[in-house]
C-alpha cells in the first residue's frame, strides 16, 4: 500500500544541497560540475520530454537542446536551489516550441498534419512489471483521452506532480505560478482523473492484475 511518502519529492534535502553546490561550481566555470548535474538529471528530463512527445529521436534532440540551453543560461540562474524547477521549465518550453513548430509547419503545408502518436515509437525496457503491447497501447490511449479532458495548466500540473514526481513548490516554481494556483489546478485535474471511469477501470484491473 502506498503511503504519503510516495508523494514526497524524489530529490531529498541532501541531494538538493549537493545539486546546489554543483550549480555553484558550474556557474564558476567547472565543466565537470555541469557534467555531473547533467548525469543526475538527464533521465528525468528525457522522460518528461518523451512522455509529452512520444518520439524517441525528437526527445533525444530536445533533451540535448535543454542541456545546451541550461549550460548557456546557467550564469543567469540566481538561486542555486531552484536548479531543478528551472531545468524543467526549459524542458517544458522546448516541448511547447516543438508542438508550436509542428503546428506551424502543418498549417503551411510544409509537413503533413501529424497527430501526436497515441503510442510511443519505441518499447520500454522489458522488466517483470512492464506491460505487454495491447495493455500498453490501451494505457497510452487512456492517457491521451485524459489529456484532452484537462486544460493546458491542469495537464501540466497533473503530469508534473504524478509522472515527474515534483512537489507543489517545485511545480509552482517551474510554471511560475503561486502554490495556491497550482493546488487549484491540481484539484480540478484530480477530479477529472477520478471521473475518468475507463482509466480508473484500466488502473484497477492492471493494479489487481499486477498484484496477482
Amino acid at each position: 500500500m502506498n503511503t504519503r511518502e510516495d508523494f514526497e519529492p524524489s530529490v531529498s534535502p541532501a541531494q538538493g544541497d549537493q545539486v546546489a553546490a554543483l550549480v555553484e561550481q558550474a556557474r564558476a566555470g567547472s565543466a565537470s560540475a555541469f557534467e555531473k548535474l547533467m548525469v543526475m538529471h538527464r533521465d528525468e528530463i528525457f522522460r518528461l520530454v518523451f512522455f509529452r512527445i512520444r518520439s524517441r529521436m525528437d526527445s533525444e534532440d530536445l533533451t540535448q537542446d535543454v542541456f545546451m540551453s541550461a549550460f548557456k543560461y546557467l550564469p543567469q540562474l540566481k538561486e542555486s536551489d531552484r536548479f531543478r524547477p528551472w531545468l524543467y521549465r526549459i524542458a517544458l518550453n522546448r516541448v511547447h516550441d516543438f508542438h508550436r513548430k509542428n503546428k506551424l509547419l502543418a498549417f503551411f503545408g510544409i509537413t503533413d498534419e501529424r497527430e501526436q502518436a497515441d503510442v510511443p515509437d519505441v518499447e520500454p525496457h522489458r522488466d517483470p512489471s512492464a506491460l505487454d503491447g495491447v495493455i500498453r497501447h490501451e494505457f497510452w490511449v487512456r492517457v491521451k483521452e485524459l489529456s484532452k479532458r484537462f486544460s493546458k495548466m491542469e495537464r501540466e500540473v497533473f503530469f508534473l506532480r504524478f509522472v515527474d514526481d515534483m512537489n507543489l513548490r517545485e511545480i509552482a516554481l517551474t510554471l511560475k505560478r503561486s502554490e495556491s494556483a497550482v493546488k487549484t489546478h491540481l484539484y480540478r485535474a484530480i477530479r477529472k482523473f477520478k471521473e475518468d471511469s475507463a482509466l480508473s477501470d484500466f488502473l484497477e484491473g492492471e493494479w489487481h492484475g499486477g498484484k496477482d
Binding site: 522522460r47 526527445s59 542541456f67 510511443p120 512492464a130 484530480i190 482523473f193 488502473l203 492492471e206
Partner: protein, 178 residues
C-alpha cells in the same frame, strides 16, 4: 462542527491528497481517527501513484545521452560549433567579420585591377622603347664607332649589303690580283 465530524466528501478527500497540511485541525483529527476516510484517501493515492508508476515505466527507454563537452576529444570545428551555439557575442562577431569581408572584397579587387593596368602600361612603354631601338638600328646598321673610323670618301661609295659579293677583293680584304 457537525460537518467536521462527519465523513469526508470528495472535495476534502482530494484536498487531503493534494496537501494534508492544508486541512484544518478537526479535519486532520477526523482523518486520523476514521478508517473509512483514510481508506478513501489511500485508494485515490494508490490510483494516482499507479498512474505515475506505469507512466514512468513506459517512458524508461534507451536513449542517446546528451553531451556538451564532447569537443574535448574532437576537432576545432566542434569547438567552433559549441561556441557558436552558446555565445551570442561570438555569433555577432562572426557575422560582423563576414560583412566586413564582403564589403572590403570589391575594394581589394579594384586595387588588383589598378595594379594590373599599371603593369600593362609599363609593358607597353617597354615595348615602345624596344621598337625605338629596333628602328634606330635599321637606320644605322653599323655601330656608331665604325662609322666614325671609316674614310671620308667611303660614305660616297655604295654601302655593301651584308653577304653581297665584292669581286675586286679577296675574302681577307686584299686585291684579288695581288
Amino acid at each position: 462542527m457537525v460537518e467536521k465530524t462527519s465523513h469526508f466528501d470528495e472535495q476534502q478527500i482530494i484536498e487531503a491528497v493534494i496537501d494534508p497540511s492544508s486541512l484544518d485541525v478537526p479535519s486532520r483529527r477526523h482523518l486520523w481517527e476514521c478508517p473509512e476516510c483514510r481508506a478513501q484517501k489511500a485508494a485515490l493515492e494508490n490510483r494516482l501513484a499507479r498512474f505515475g508508476q506505469i507512466s514512468r515505466e513506459q517512458t524508461t527507454i534507451e536513449f542517446r545521452k546528451p553531451e556538451i563537452f564532447q569537443h574535448e576529444s574532437a576537432g576545432i570545428f566542434s569547438i567552433f560549433k559549441l561556441i557558436w551555439e552558446i555565445s551570442p557575442v561570438f555569433r555577432m562577431g562572426v557575422v560582423f567579420a563576414s560583412l566586413l569581408i564582403l564589403l572590403l572584397t570589391p575594394l581589394t579587387l579594384k586595387k588588383d585591377m589598378i595594379y594590373t593596368l599599371d603593369r600593362v602600361y609599363e609593358e607597353m612603354r617597354q615595348d615602345d622603347e624596344f621598337m625605338n631601338e629596333v628602328e634606330k638600328l635599321e637606320d644605322t646598321p653599323f655601330p656608331h664607332s665604325y662609322v666614325e673610323v671609316a674614310a671620308p670618301g667611303d660614305d660616297k661609295r655604295e654601302t655593301p649589303s651584308p653577304g653581297a659579293r665584292n669581286d675586286g677583293m679577296t675574302e681577307d680584304g686584299g686585291p684579288r690580283n695581288a
